[in-house]
C-alpha cells in the first residue's frame, strides 16, 4: 500500500461506516494523516502526500444496502467494486454506466472520490449526474448523509456534488445511492480504422442519434457503441457502415492505463487541437464527444499548456514522484481556489485526509 513512495505506519480495515468515522476522529485528534484506499486503482492521482500514517482500506464495506428494481435505485457501501455492483444489477436488467479506465477493480467510493468516468459519459453523463445520495465520514468523526433515495431532490444544498472528485478532502465516502438505468433494449458495438479518424468520429457523432460511447485511439482505431431499439440500432449501424466489434472490445479498452499517464479534459470542440499537438508516436485514446483524452505522461508540460489554453486541464493519474514534483499533478490552480481552501478548512482543518495530495 505504497503511495508515491510513502508507506503507511498502519493499515486500518474498518468493517463498517462507524469504524471509518472512528479512525478519522482518532487520526484528527492525534494529528495523524489518513489516506483512504478502495480498490487501489487511483492511488497515483494527485500530488505526493506530505504524510501517510494510516491507510484506511474500505474494501470490507462491500454490501448492497438496498436494491429497488422498480424504483431503479440502488444504495451500496463504498468498498464494493463496480464489477460486483453491475453483476448484481444485471440480474434485474439494469446497470450503472460508470466505466473508468484502469479497470477492473475500482470501488464505488474510489471512483466517486477520484471523479473518474469513461466512454459511456457521452450518453449518460458522469456519476455526478446520477448519484442521488451519499453517506460521508467527516474528518471530525461525524457521519453525515446528503440527498436521499429518490431520483429528484432539491431539499437543501446538493452536498453530493462537493464530495465527488474531492479525493476525500472534505470527508470519506462510506456509502452511495444511485439512479440506475435499464439495459438498452438493443446494443451493437462497431469499429473501424480510418485515415482521417477525427472526421470519421465527427460523422458518428452527427448521426441522428449519437452513439452512447465513441472512442478514438492514436493507432487510428475507432470504437462506437450504438444502443436503443432494435430497428433504431439497425439503422444507425447501416448509416455508419463500420464493422461489428468483438464482444470483449469495451472490457479491453477499459483496461488501459499506464505507469505514468494523464487525463486531458477540454471543451469537446478543442480536443483535436490538443491531441494533434502531442509528439509523433505518443500513445493516447480519446472520447471526442466528451472532450476527454488519456495519454502517456511524456511531454506533459507542452500538453498541459495546450489543454489549459483550450480552457481545460491536464491531470496526472499516475507518475513518478520526480515528475509530479516537477510539474504538479493538477496544473494551474482553479480561479476559485481560495473558496475551495476555505471549504477544506471548514471540513478538514487539520488536513487529516491525504495532506498535500489534493488541489487544496
Amino acid at each position: 500500500m505504497v503511495v508515491d513512495g510513502l508507506e503507511p505506519g498502519r493499515v486500518a480495515r474498518p468493517e463498517n461506516a462507524e469504524q471509518v468515522a472512528e479512525e478519522l476522529r482518532d487520526a484528527a485528534a492525534s494529528g495523524r494523516a489518513v489516506v483512504p484506499v478502495g480498490g487501489g486503482r487511483a492511488l497515483g492521482l494527485g500530488d505526493p502526500p506530505e504524510r501517510f500514517d494510516v491507510a484506511l482500506e474500505t474494501r470490507a464495506l462491500d454490501r448492497v444496502l438496498e436494491l429497488s428494481q422498480a424504483d431503479m435505485t440502488v444504495s451500496v457501501e463504498a468498498g464494493m467494486t463496480l464489477e460486483a455492483l453491475n453483476a448484481t444489477l444485471a440480474q434485474v436488467g439494469q446497470f450503472l454506466p460508470i466505466d473508468p479506465f484502469n479497470a477492473p477493480g475500482h470501488t464505488v467510493g474510489g471512483v466517486l472520490a477520484a471523479g473518474l468516468s469513461g466512454p459511456l459519459r457521452l450518453r449518460y453523463g458522469s456519476p455526478r449526474d446520477f448519484v442521488i445520495g451519499l453517506r460521508v465520514a467527516l474528518p471530525d468523526g461525524r457521519l453525515v448523509s446528503s440527498g436521499g433515495r429518490v431520483v429528484k431532490n432539491v431539499s437543501g444544498y446538493d452536498m453530493n456534488k462537493l464530495h465527488q472528485g474531492a479525493l476525500g478532502s472534505l470527508g470519506v465516502i462510506v456509502a452511495a445511492s444511485f439512479k440506475v438505468f435499464p439495459r438498452p433494449l438493443h446494443e451493437v458495438s462497431v469499429e473501424t480504422r480510418s485515415e482521417d479518424p477525427w472526421r470519421e468520429a465527427a460523422r458518428a457523432l452527427a448521426l441522428p442519434q449519437a452513439p452512447v460511447a465513441l472512442e478514438l485511439a492514436s493507432d487510428g482505431r475507432l470504437l462506437a457503441r450504438l444502443a436503443g431499439t432494435t430497428s433504431g440500432v439497425r439503422r444507425l449501424v447501416a448509416e455508419l457502415g463500420w464493422t461489428e466489434a468483438g464482444p470483449d472490445a469495451w472490457e479491453e479498452h477499459a483496461r488501459q492505463s499506464g505507469a505514468a499517464w494523464a487525463r486531458v479534459s477540454v471543451p469537446p470542440v478543442r480536443l483535436r487541437e490538443v491531441v494533434d499537438g502531442l509528439p509523433a508516436g505518443a500513445r493516447w485514446w480519446a472520447s471526442p464527444g466528451v472532450g476527454a483524452a488519456h495519454l502517456d505522461a511524456e511531454a506533459v508540460r507542452a500538453a498541459r499548456a495546450a489543454a489549459e489554453r483550450a480552457g481545460g486541464s491536464l491531470v496526472l493519474l499516475a507518475a513518478p514522484v520526480e515528475l509530479k514534483r516537477a510539474v504538479g499533478a493538477w496544473g494551474t490552480p482553479p480561479a476559485a481556489a481560495a473558496w475551495m481552501t476555505r471549504l477544506r478548512d471548514a471540513f478538514d482543518p487539520k488536513r487529516t485526509v491525504s495532506p498535500g495530495r489534493y488541489v487544496v
Binding site: 446538493d158 456534488k161 432494435t230 433504431g232 479534459s265 472532450g291 476527454a292 471549504l343
Partner: protein, 479 residues
C-alpha cells in the same frame, strides 16, 4: 423598515434613478412570489449588469442589509421573499441571450432570460434546453439555476443541475467568480454543483452557461385514461419496469382533468379517474417501436381512450392542458397551495391514497397533476383565501401530506426548493449533523448571513412551528 435616504441615494447612483423602487405602494408588488409566503422588501433594486450587482452587494454587506435575488417571482417555496426585509435584487433587466454556440451546443445567458425565450432561440437552431418548468413562459434561467428547477421532460433528460455547465457568481463579499466551464472535468471542488439549487443563499448568479441538446428526429405523445389513480400509478411503474424511460410521463387526476377540459378542451376524458401523458422521442423507427410497447403496457393496466397526437398541433394541445393545469384550477377555487414532495416511484399509490384521505379530513379539494415518472407529487390544495381560518386548514393539510411523503421514504422537494415554507420540516429528513454540514458551506460563503436569510435552514428561535414537530426524524437509514 425603510432604508435611510442616503442609502437610497447610493443605490440610485449605482443603478440609476429609475431602477430603485422604494415607494410603499410600489414595493407591495414585490411582496410575493408564486408561494403563499409574503414579505414587503425595504427596497427593490434593478441592476443592469454584473458590475452593478457587485456594487449593490458590497454596499449592502457594508451596511448589514439582507439581499434577496429575484427572477420572475414564479417560485413556489418563497425563495424570492424578503423574509427579513432588505433589498430585493430584481434581475429582470439582465435578460440578454449572450451567445448560442451551435457547434459546442451551449448557450450563455443572463439570469433574467425567460426559459421559453431560450427554448425558442435554441429551437430555431435545431437545439433545445431540456429543463421545462410548467412556468417556463415566465420563469427565468437564473431562477431555474438557483432553485434547480425541474419540469416534465426531466424524467429522461435530467433537471437543471444536469444542464448548467457554468455560472458567474457574485458572492456575499462582492467578489466574482466564474465557476465551471465547457471541459467535462474541472480541477478542484465542484462549487458549481453546490451553487445550483442553493436558492440565492450562497451568492447571486449573474450569468449562466447551459448545455443544449439536439432536437429529436421524432416525437410521439400518447394520452391514456384510467379508471382510478391507482391503476394509472401501476401503469407508470410498469412502463419503466419494462426498461422504457420515456421523455416525459405525467399524471392528472379527475379534479384536474375537469378543470383543464373546461378551459383548454385538450381532449382528456372527463369521466376518467386519471390521465397519463407519455412522450417518447428519438429516431423515427424507435418512436414507433417504443410507443407500441408503451401502448401494450398501458392497455395491460386498464388504460382506455388511448390516443396518439396526430400532429404537432394536437401534441401542443395535450401539453397545453398539462402545463396550464394549475391556472385552470382557478375555476374551482381562486387560491392553491402545493407541495412537490418526491417518493420512490413504487410508493405512488400509497402516497396518493394518503393525500386523498388528508384532503377529505381537512374538507379541502385536492387536485393532483404531477411528474409521475419521477415520483414527484404536486397535490394542489384548492381554497378561497377570503374564507375565515382557512389557512390553518391548508397549512395543516400540506404538512400532513409532506409527512406522509417522508414516512414513505421520500423527500420534501423535488424541484420547487425549500425556501420559507419547508425549512421547518428539514429535520424530518436530515439529522442535526447532516444540517450542520450544510451550514458549514453556508458559513464559508456567507458568514454574516446576509444572502436570502431565513431560507432552507430551520430556525427554531423564530419559527414556533418547530416546537410542535420535535421528535420526528425519518432521515435516510443506511442500515
Amino acid at each position: 423598515m425603510p432604508l435611510p435616504r442616503s442609502v437610497l441615494a447610493d443605490l440610485r447612483r449605482i443603478v440609476g434613478d429609475h431602477h430603485v423602487v422604494h415607494d410603499a405602494n410600489d414595493l407591495r408588488i414585490f411582496e410575493r412570489d408564486g408561494s403563499i409566503a409574503g414579505a414587503v422588501p425595504d427596497a427593490v433594486v434593478l441592476p443592469a449588469n454584473r458590475d452593478e450587482v457587485v456594487q449593490v452587494v458590497r454596499l449592502a454587506a457594508r451596511l448589514g442589509i439582507p439581499v434577496v435575488p429575484r427572477g420572475a417571482g414564479t417560485g413556489l417555496s418563497g425563495g424570492a421573499i424578503t423574509l427579513r426585509g432588505g433589498i430585493a435584487l430584481q434581475l429582470s433587466r439582465m435578460r440578454r441571450i449572450v451567445e448560442i454556440d451551435t457547434r459546442g451546443r451551449t448557450a450563455v445567458v443572463e439570469p433574467g432570460v425567460v426559459n421559453a425565450d431560450l427554448q425558442q432561440a435554441a429551437g430555431r437552431l435545431g437545439l433545445f434546453y431540456a429543463p421545462d418548468p410548467s412556468s417556463q413562459k415566465a420563469c427565468t434561467i437564473g431562477g431555474n439555476a438557483a432553485e434547480n428547477s425541474g419540469g416534465p421532460h426531466c424524467l429522461y433528460y435530467g433537471v437543471t443541475t444536469n444542464h448548467v455547465i457554468g455560472l458567474e457568481v457574485v458572492f456575499a463579499d462582492g467578489s466574482v467568480e466564474w465557476l465551471g466551464g465547457d471541459a467535462p472535468d474541472r480541477v478542484g471542488l465542484d462549487l458549481l454543483g453546490v451553487l445550483v439549487g442553493s436558492e440565492g443563499t450562497l451568492g447571486t448568479i449573474t450569468r449562466i452557461k447551459v448545455r443544449l441538446v439536439p432536437l429529436p428526429e421524432s416525437v410521439v405523445t400518447l394520452m391514456a385514461a384510467f379508471p382510478t389513480i391507482e391503476a394509472a400509478s401501476h401503469a407508470v411503474s410498469d412502463v419503466i419496469g419494462h426498461g422504457i424511460v420515456p421523455a416525459a410521463l405525467e399524471m392528472m387526476d379527475q379534479v384536474t382533468i375537469g378543470a383543464v377540459e373546461a378551459h383548454y378542451r385538450a381532449g382528456y376524458p372527463t369521466d376518467a379517474g386519471a390521465v397519463l401523458l407519455v412522450e417518447v422521442d428519438g429516431l423515427q423507427e424507435s418512436c414507433g417501436e417504443l410507443s407500441e410497447a408503451v401502448e401494450r403496457v398501458l392497455r395491460a393496466n386498464e388504460a382506455t381512450n388511448l390516443r396518439t397526437a396526430a400532429d404537432a398541433a394536437e401534441r401542443e394541445l395535450l401539453w397545453a392542458g398539462r402545463k396550464g393545469a394549475i391556472g385552470a384550477l382557478g375555476r374551482i377555487k381562486p387560491n392553491y397551495y402545493l407541495h412537490d414532495g418526491v417518493v420512490p416511484r413504487t410508493r405512488l399509490p400509497d402516497v396518493l391514497r394518503r393525500v386523498t384521505e388528508i384532503g377529505e379530513h381537512y374538507r379541502l379539494p385536492v387536485a393532483n397533476v404531477f411528474h409521475a415518472g419521477d415520483g414527484n407529487l404536486h397535490p394542489n390544495i384548492l381554497f378561497d383565501l377570503r374564507e375565515a381560518g382557512i389557512m390553518d386548514r391548508v397549512g395543516g393539510a400540506g404538512e400532513e401530506m409532506l409527512r406522509a411523503v417522508v414516512e414513505l421514504g421520500g423527500t420534501l422537494s423535488g424541484e420547487h426548493g425549500i425556501g420559507v415554507e419547508k425549512n421547518a420540516f428539514m429535520p424530518w429528513i436530515y439529522a442535526p449533523d447532516d444540517l450542520e454540514a450544510m451550514l458549514r458551506v453556508k458559513h464559508v460563503f456567507d458568514p454574516a448571513g446576509m444572502l436570502n436569510p431565513g431560507k432552507i435552514f430551520p430556525d427554531p428561535e423564530r419559527d414556533p412551528r418547530l416546537v410542535v414537530r420535535a421528535g420526528f426524524c425519518a432521515e435516510a437509514k443506511w442500515w
